[in-house]
Structure formats: structure tokens, C-alpha cells
């Protein structure tokens, strides 16, 4: 089986089964690393950054290879990445705003 599948009359090339299996192996390994990091107490100080990097790597692998964004051109990338960027801004902004609020609000009761 060819590693490159031809679709849409030759306009867009998607990877074949071999690439998909390699990506799956990476995803399994990365997930195993995440779970390991969670259970190893010595890694607690770096838990957050390590988990975020690992999750971002898994996210990128699925989006680029399984969702074919790596092959489908800049237009679809833009349609997805811009809202994703805005969603990330929203997430971080709300966490920071409420962290400030928590530190400065009167205790309940």
C-alpha cells in the first residue's frame, strides 16, 4: 500500500495507512507519558508545563495528520487556527481575570 493516497483528482495528497499507524503510536506513547507524569510525585513541580506540552503535541498530531490540515492548504488552516487562537486568548484571559478576582474578593459569608 502506498504511503500517499491520492484524492480529489490529484489535487490533494493525504498520507496512507503507514503514516496513520505511526501517528497512532506517537499518540499512545504521549498519552502514556502524560499518565506517568501524573503518577510520579517527583514531577509535580513541572506537572503543568509538561502536561500542556504533551497535550499540545497530541492535539497538533491529530489536527495535522488525521484531519489533514498539513496537506489541505492555508485556507482551512486559517479558518481553524484563528478561532483556536481567539479561544486560547479567551481561556487564558478568563483564568487570569478570575485569579485576580479570587485574590481580591471578600470571603463568602
Amino acid at each position: 500500500m502506498s504511503d500517499i493516497a491520492d484524492t480529489h483528482g490529484g489535487q490533494v495528497h493525504h498520507p496512507g495507512a503507514a503514516t496513520y499507524l505511526i501517528i497512532a503510536a506517537f499518540l499512545v506513547v504521549l498519552t502514556a507519558m502524560e499518565i506517568t507524569v501524573f503518577y510520579v510525585h517527583a514531577l509535580r513541580p513541572v506537572l503543568v508545563p509538561v502536561l500542556i506540552v504533551l497535550a499540545a503535541a497530541k492535539f497538533a498530531l491529530v489536527v495535522m495528520f488525521y484531519m489533514h490540515l498539513k496537506y489541505d492548504g492555508w485556507l482551512l488552516t486559517g479558518v481553524f487556527v484563528f478561532p483556536l487562537m481567539m479561544a486560547t486568548v479567551l481561556l487564558v484571559a478568563l483564568i487570569l481575570l478570575f485569579a485576580y478576582l479570587s485574590n481580591h474578593m471578600a470571603p463568602i459569608g
Binding site: A5, H8, A55, Y66, V79
Partner: protein, 823 residues
């Protein structure tokens, strides 16, 4: 050499002709859908206008009791809600956007005509739900912003807020579908040669507005879902005594609410950018900067929501950040105002009513913009917030900006839409009464606001010194009422006995003026080839502005559809469909059942929705007919429109889940009772994560098998994906059940409710994916899938993988970071 307009040999029936009532109920023609938006918006505008008049009657004298306080609250709530969601947006997007997008980009319809019809019917259902309080339960009365925790059932019992929540959820769904449709249409269906930098500026504004809709509305949806859960299922998302904060609502609402201002303003800017060049007989000045300014305004508008919340105490850093972004947004807005003025400058002006309203918009909107810059400064805003100064400001923006532009657009495009001219004489009266009435109503509000008159106040004391200015405002409101009465009369007279409109009555510049007035159902006999900006102008006069063809046009003979080749004999247009109407009736039934607490009705409504969506899927002309249907022909970029559509939807879903996840992180450590994150079962969810990741592998293998025509492995991999999806769902059911047994239910505490809502919504997405894939599996097993339908599998796969990546984030942030404190 430019193509010359050619006469058509036979009469072409317009889109308005034929079909009868059934034709209208089942139409998916973008022009008919637009007309239906118009009809509903004009009806709701009468409601909203009368509510405004009643508000002004109440404020005519001090200590007045013409209305009860409760009725007054309901009227200002419904006035704001109606004008924003049921009038301004439907007119700008539903009416003008729908009618003009295909005509200005040289297409025969929008990318997804059935979805377009569904958007309209959902919008109508939303409007009806919002007004059913007249019949039962009372009208919503907590302001158009519905601040928590006033909207909680404890403070506002009864059905009034329920109508508001459900109505706005349906309205938001309609708007998101419209945004998705418009974005895809403008990206993918432009005529050959129409590059982005050749698009009419109105198209630029709608393109950017569509993006803004997709990233702004999900925040409102999440805010409303939390409120719905609080009111219907006894959660406490906005209840301070449970550890929650009502400020969360404000953030979610204004994350939507300020972009919403630009969702209404940007199309208005686009309209003015069409009208001003036409009646100045000059190209738009600074076209590239105008386009970039629209993009910059939209981008910045997503980072200014905090200026509505300076009074909540966000801290000096956040206040400064929001103040800076709010001030920055004045720069691209100023670029637009100066470009319009430069376009008018030195032009050969024709003072039509449309141009009058355009000039009026530039002036009035600038006043609103200037008072807006004041609000960007936190110390000044603290003095002005919740005063009548703010009411004056946003009416100068939304009436002086959006409504003046809408009225300009009416006088400009009405001949194209109906084939009849609006009366210019009555139009001028309409304009001057509007200008006088508008300024007499709203300018004094700046002054009484600075004197301290609070907005939303039911009445005021005689000793406050506000009486005379309030009486002046009321007089202005009645002048405005007379102006709108003239407008309705003008419309009525035009429809009954208006002068017939030629194809190009204004010597227009964009493609819609190349079609007959009103246009035929298919818009263009032949899809035009675009040779430059101001496409129709170039075709009429050539690039150098030659007057040769102008002489041809001077006789005002109806110009013809652009025809560089003989008109197509067989133009295939998508068939009408009853399913958009039926689906929206099902949605309305669900909403009704939920509100009146009759869950059998909800189930019936849900069944109608599911069956009608399946029905729509079966009549979908593309199923198995890749790219042969002009409705879904590959875009100019070679990408199937459906792929652009699903990616747009996925982009919007990013914001949806980001809102849910951020709420979970904020609330997870705020519970005042019950279990917390330590209850989460990592081994179980690790297994579920593995299952979902492997389902993605099977999904992509299924797609590869479909693309190479391998039917056996297509069935195997699809079946495997469905099975893994079901295993994941079973794991989630087991997890939820075990939590219940351990004493953690939906309403136990803030952690449990934010957890169940977040993970539950993800689970709902997985369930929808399983149903979608099951339908494809059945199609594969009955031999109805195969290589020619690979795109159908790819679309389902994209959705499935997205559900997978969302879980990757949830697994990390919710489960593995359980020991990390919340915000």
C-alpha cells in the same frame, strides 16, 4: 475590450414570481429567504419602536405612573432585545446580506441554501418565543444584557426569563448558521476573477462579520446554557452563596456583546462604502486600507469587552489593557470615516435619499464614536457607566450608525429587490424627520446622563432638574415615530403603485446592477468573468471610464445579465425543501415544552428535529454526486464548500469549549461543600482516552479505504469507529453513575456542575458523532457509500477527530491537572 450588455431575447420571470404560499414556505432561494427576513424584521421593528415610545411616555413627567414599574422594565428589556436580535441583525445580515452576497460575488445562491432557510425559520421561531410572554408568563424584564443574578429564578420567578433564555439560544443558533453559510459562500463561491481585493466592500464587511459571529456567539451560548441550567436544573453557576460569581455572566455576555456591536456596525460600514462611491461617481477612496481596517476592527473588538466592566473591579492591569485596546479601535474606525469623506470630496454628487442617509450615518456615527472613546478611559467610564450618557452613546452608534445605514440601503437596493422605486420626495421627508427626531431624542441624553440620571430608571423626582430635557427627548421620539410611519407608508406605496425600476437606476458599480430588477431566480444567466474592482462599472465603461457604453446606458434600458457567452439553457437550481421549516418547528416545540414544563412536548419536538434532519440528509442533492451540482461545486480554491463549512463550524466550537473549560478551571476549587477533583477516576479515563484516540485511527483508515474504493475495509473501519465511540460513551455513563453513587450529582457543588456540563457536552458531541457515523455505516453496508462519496466520510471524520482533540484537552486540564488549584 469590456463585455457589452446584451438584450435577452425573452422575458425572464423574477424570483418573486410563481410558487404560491407553498413556494414561499419551502423556498431555499437566498432572495426569497431575504424577503422573509425583511417581513419579520419590519413586524418586530414596529413592536420595538412602540415599546420605545411607551418608555418615553413614561419618562415625560417626574413621578409618572403611565406604565407600571414592571411593565416599564419589560418594555426596555424587550426594546433592546428586539431591536438587536430581531431587527438590526436580521435586516443587515438576513435581509441585505442574504439578498446581496450571491449577487455581488457573481454566484447563483449561497453555499448551503437549506441551511440558509433553516436559519430564517429558526430566527422567526426565536422571535415568537421571545414574544410568547405576552400570552403566558409575562415579558422578560431583566434588561437586554440579562445580568446575573437578577435572572436567577430566586430573584425572577415565573416564565419571563425562561422565554428570553430559550429564545436567545435559538436566535444564536440561527445566527451562527448564517455566519457559517456566509463565510463559506464568500470564500468559495466568488465568480472567476473576483479576488479578495476585487470584492465589493460590503462583501468584505460581511466576510469579517461572519468570522466575528463564529467566534463571539459561542460565549453567549455558554452563558445562556449556564443560566438555563440554573433556572431549570437547580445548578448555581451565578449564585454567590454557592461560591460562584455573577461576574462570570458579565464576562461571557460581553465577550459576545462587544463583538456584537461590530457585528451590527461592520455591515453598516460596508453599506456606506457601497452607497457613497455610487452617488459620488468615484471609486471608494483607499480601498485596501478600508478592507484592512475592517479586519483590524474585528480583531480588536474581541479584546475590548472589559470596558463594559470597569465598575466590577478587574484590577489596574486588566483595566489598562482593556482601555488601550478600546482606544486603539478608534484608529481603524477613523480610517473608514476619513475614507468616506475623501470619496465624497470632489465627487459628482447626486443627492438621493440613499445618499442623504449615508451622509447622515457618517455624521451621527462619528458622534457616537467620539463618546465611545470617552468610555475607553476607565476613570471617565466610572462616572458615565449606567447613566443616560451611555444610552445616548450606544444609540448614536446603533441608530446613528447601523439604522441610518440600513435606511440608506433600503433606498439604494429596494429597486433591485422589488423592481419598484421608493418615493424620493417622501424619502427626503423621512430623512429630515429622522435626523431631527433622532438628535432631539438622543443628544439631550448626554446631558441628563452627565447630570446623573441613571439608565433604566422607572421615573425621577421633580427636584432633579431633568424634566425639560426628558420632555424634549419624548418629543423627539414622537418625531422619530412619525418618520418611521412615513417610511412604512413609502414602502407600502412603492409596492402598490411605485414607479417601475430599471435594472441599473443609480448607475451602480457592483454586479447586482447587471441583473434585471427584480433578478431572476438564478441571478446570472452566465457566471460573469470579473476583470477588476467595481466589476459592473468596468464592464459598462471600461477601465479608463470611457463614455462609449455609457451612451448605451443613458437610455436607461434594462441592462442584462452579464453575458460573455450565450445564456445557459438549463440552469440547475436546488429544489425547494419543507424540512428547514419542519426542523425549526421541532426546535420551537422543544423550547415551548421546556418552558411550560411539559417534557412529552420536548420529546415530540426532538423527534421532529431528528427526523427532519435525516429527511434533509436524504434529499441532499450532493449525496453521491460530487461536484456536479453547481450548488456544491468546488470553490475557486479547489476546496469543497462543505469542508470549508465544517472547518468553520469546528473553529466556532473551539470558542464554545474554551468557554466551558475556562468556567471549569475557574470554579473547580470554589465549591463550598461536597467532593472535589480528587473524585476523578484516572485509570478509567486513561482507558477512555486510549479508546477515543484509537477511534480516530480507525476513522482515518475508513476514509482512506473509502477514497481508494475498498468497500470491505470501509465497512470494517467505520464499524470499528462506531464501536469505539460507543465504548467511550459507556465509560462515561459508568463514570457519571459512579459519581452519583458517591454522592456527587449535578447540583452538589460548583465543581460537580461545571464538570458535568463540560464533560456532558463533550459526551453529547461524541453521541452525535456516533449517530452520524452509524448512518454512514448503514450507507456503506447497503452499498450506498463508496469512492464517489468520500467527501461525506471525510466531513464526518473531521467532526470525529475534533471531538477527539477536545477530549485530549479535557483529559489534561480536567483529569490530570486535578491537583492544580483553580483560578
Amino acid at each position: 475590450m469590456a463585455a457589452q450588455p446584451k438584450p435577452l431575447p425573452v422575458h425572464q420571470p423574477s424570483y418573486l414570481e410563481g410558487g404560491g404560499i407553498v413556494g414561499w414556505l419551502t423556498t431555499i432561494d437566498h432572495k426569497r429567504v431575504a424577503v422573509m427576513y425583511l417581513a419579520s424584521a419590519l413586524l418586530f421593528m414596529a413592536f420595538g419602536g412602540l415599546e420605545a415610545m411607551a418608555i418615553r411616555v413614561q419618562l415625560w413627567t417626574p413621578d409618572n405612573h403611565a406604565l407600571s414599574a414592571a411593565t416599564y422594565n419589560a418594555f426596555f428589556t424587550m426594546h433592546g432585545t428586539t431591536m438587536i436580535f430581531l431587527v438590526v441583525m436580521p435586516l443587515l445580515l438576513g435581509f441585505f446580506g442574504n439578498f446581496l452576497i450571491p449577487l455581488q460575488i457573481g454566484a447563483r445562491d449561497v453555499a448551503f441554501p437549506r441551511l440558509n432557510a433553516l436559519s430564517f425559520w429558526l430566527a422567526l421561531v426565536a422571535g415568537i418565543l421571545l414574544h410568547l410572554g405576552w400570552i403566558r408568563g409575562g415579558l422578560p424584564d431583566a434588561g437586554w444584557f440579562g445580568y446575573a443574578n437578577l435572572t436567577e429564578r430566586y430573584f425572577t420567578p415565573g416564565l419571563a426569563i425562561d422565554w428570553w433564555v430559550v429564545g436567545l439560544l435559538v436566535s444564536g443558533t440561527s445566527t451562527v448558521l448564517t455566519g457559517l453559510n456566509f463565510l463559506t459562500t464568500i470564500i468559495a463561491m466568488r465568480a472567476p476573477g473576483m479576488t479578495y481585493m476585487r470584492m465589493p466592500m460590503f462583501m468584505w464587511s460581511l466576510l469579517v462579520t461572519s468570522i466575528l459571529i463564529l467566534i463571539a456567539f459561542p460565549a453567549l451560548t455558554i452563558g445562556l446554557i449556564f443560566l438555563l441550567f440554573d433556572r431549570f436544573f437547580d445548578t448555581h453557576f451565578y449564585v454567590a452563596s454557592a461560591g460562584a460569581t455573577p461576574i462570570l455572566w458579565q464576562h461571557l455576555f460581553w465577550l459576545f456583546g462587544h463583538p456584537e456591536v461590530y457585528i451590527m456596525a461592520l455591515p453598516a460600514f460596508g453599506i456606506i462604502s457601497e452607497v457613497v462611491p455610487t452617488f459620488s461617481r468615484k471609486p471608494l477612496f483607499g480601498y485596501p486600507m478600508m478592507a484592512y481596517s475592517i479586519c483590524l476592527i474585528a480583531f480588536l473588538s474581541y479584546g475590548v469587552w472589559g470596558h463594559h466592566m470597569f465598575a466590577t473591579g478587574m484590577g489596574p492591569v486588566a483595566d489598562s489593557a482593556f482601555a488601550i485596546t478600546s482606544m486603539l479601535i478608534a484608529i481603524p474606525t477613523g480610517v473608514k470615516v476619513f475614507s468616506w469623506i475623501a470619496t465624497v470630496w470632489g465627487g459628482s454628487l447626486r443627492m438621493t435619499t440613499a445618499f442623504y442617509f449615508a451622509l447622515g450615518m457618517i455624521l451621527e456615527f462619528t458622534i457616537g464614536g467620539l463618546s465611545g472613546i470617552m468610555h475607553a478611559s476607565a476613570p471617565i467610564d466610572l462616572q458615565q457607566t449606567d447613566s443616560y450618557f451611555v444610552v445616548a452613546h450606544f444609540h448614536y452608534v446603533l441608530f446613528g450608525g447601523a439604522m441610518f445605514a440600513i435606511l440608506s440601503a433600503f433606498y439604494y437596493w429596494w429597486p433591485k429587490i422589488t423592481g419598484r422605486m421608493l418615493g424620493e420626495r417622501i424619502g427626503k421627508w423621512h430623512f429630515w424627520l429622522t435626523v431631527v427626531g433622532f438628535n432631539v431624542t438622543f443628544f439631550p441624553m448626554h446631558i441628563v446622563g452627565m447630570w446623573g440620571m441613571p439608565r433604566r430608571t422607572y421615573t425621577y423626582g421633580a427636584d432633579m432638574g431633568w424634566t425639560h430635557l426628558n420632555q424634549l427627548e419624548t418629543v423627539g421620539a414622537f418625531i422619530l415615530g412619525i418618520a418611521f410611519l412615513l417610511f412604512y407608508i413609502n414602502i407600502f406605496k412603492s409596492l402598490v403603485s411605485g414607479e417601475h425600476a430599471p435594472a441599473d437606476p443609480w448607475d451602480g458599480r457592483s454586479l447586482e446592477w447587471s441583473t434585471p430588477s427584480p433578478p431572476p431566480a438564478y441571478n446570472f444567466a452566465t457566471i460573469p468573468q470579473i476583470r477588476g474592482r467595481d466589476a459592473w462599472w468596468i464592464l459598462k465603461y471600461g477601465r479608463a471610464g470611457s463614455r462609449g457604453v455609457a451612451a448605451y446606458m443613458s437610455g436607461q434600458a434594462p441592462s442584462q445579465p452579464l453575458a460573455s457567452a450565450p445564456a445557459d439553457v438549463h440552469i440547475h437550481m436546488p429544489a425547494p425543501s419543507i424540512f428547514p421549516l419542519v426542523t425549526s418547528l421541532g426546535v420551537g416545540t422543544m423550547g415551548l415544552g421546556l418552558i411550560i414544563d411539559w417534557y412529552r412536548i420536548v420529546i415530540i419536538g426532538a423527534a421532529v428535529v431528528v427526523l427532519s434532519i435525516i429527511g434533509m440528509g436524504f434529499e441532499y442533492p450532493d449525496f453521491g454526486q460530487e461536484s456536479h451540482d453547481p450548488e456544491h461545486a468546488p470553490s475557486s480554491g479547489g476546496i469543497d464548500v462543505r469542508k470549508i463549512g465544517i472547518w468553520s463550524f469546528i473553529g466556532s466550537e473551539c470558542v464554545f469549549f474554551a468557554s466551558l473549560i475556562s468556567t471549569f478551571i475557574v470554579y473547580k476549587a470554589r465549591s463550598v461543600t461536597g467532593p472535589g477533583p480528587e473524585i476523578l477516576n484516572i485509570p478509567l479515563t486513561s482507558f477512555s482516552t486510549f479508546i477515543l484516540l484509537m477511534s480516530s485511527l480507525l476513522m482515518v483508515l475508513a476514509l482512506a479505504a473509502t477514497q481508494r474504493g475498498d468497500k470491505r475495509w470501509e465497512r470494517i473501519w467505520l464499524g470499528g469507529t462506531v464501536m469505539f465511540g460507543l465504548i467511550f460513551l459507556c465509560g462515561q455513563v459508568y463514570e457519571f453513575t459512579s459519581f452519583m453513587h458517591e454522592g456527587m450529582g449535578l447540583t452538589t457543588n460548583l465543581f460537580s456542575q461545571s464538570f458535568f456540563v463540560l464533560v456532558g457536552f463533550h459526551g453529547a458531541h461524541v453521541a452525535i458523532g456516533v449517530i452520524w457515523l452509524s448512518v454512514l455505516l448503514v450507507a456503506a453496508m447497503t452499498g450506498n457509500l463508496g469512492k464517489s462519496r468520500a467527501t461525506s466520510v471525510e466531513l464526518a471524520g473531521l467532526y470525529w477527530h475534533f471531538v477527539d482533540v477536545v477530549w485530549i484537552i479535557i483529559f489534561t486540564l480536567v483529569y490530570l491537572m486535578q491537583a492544580v488549584p483553580g483560578a
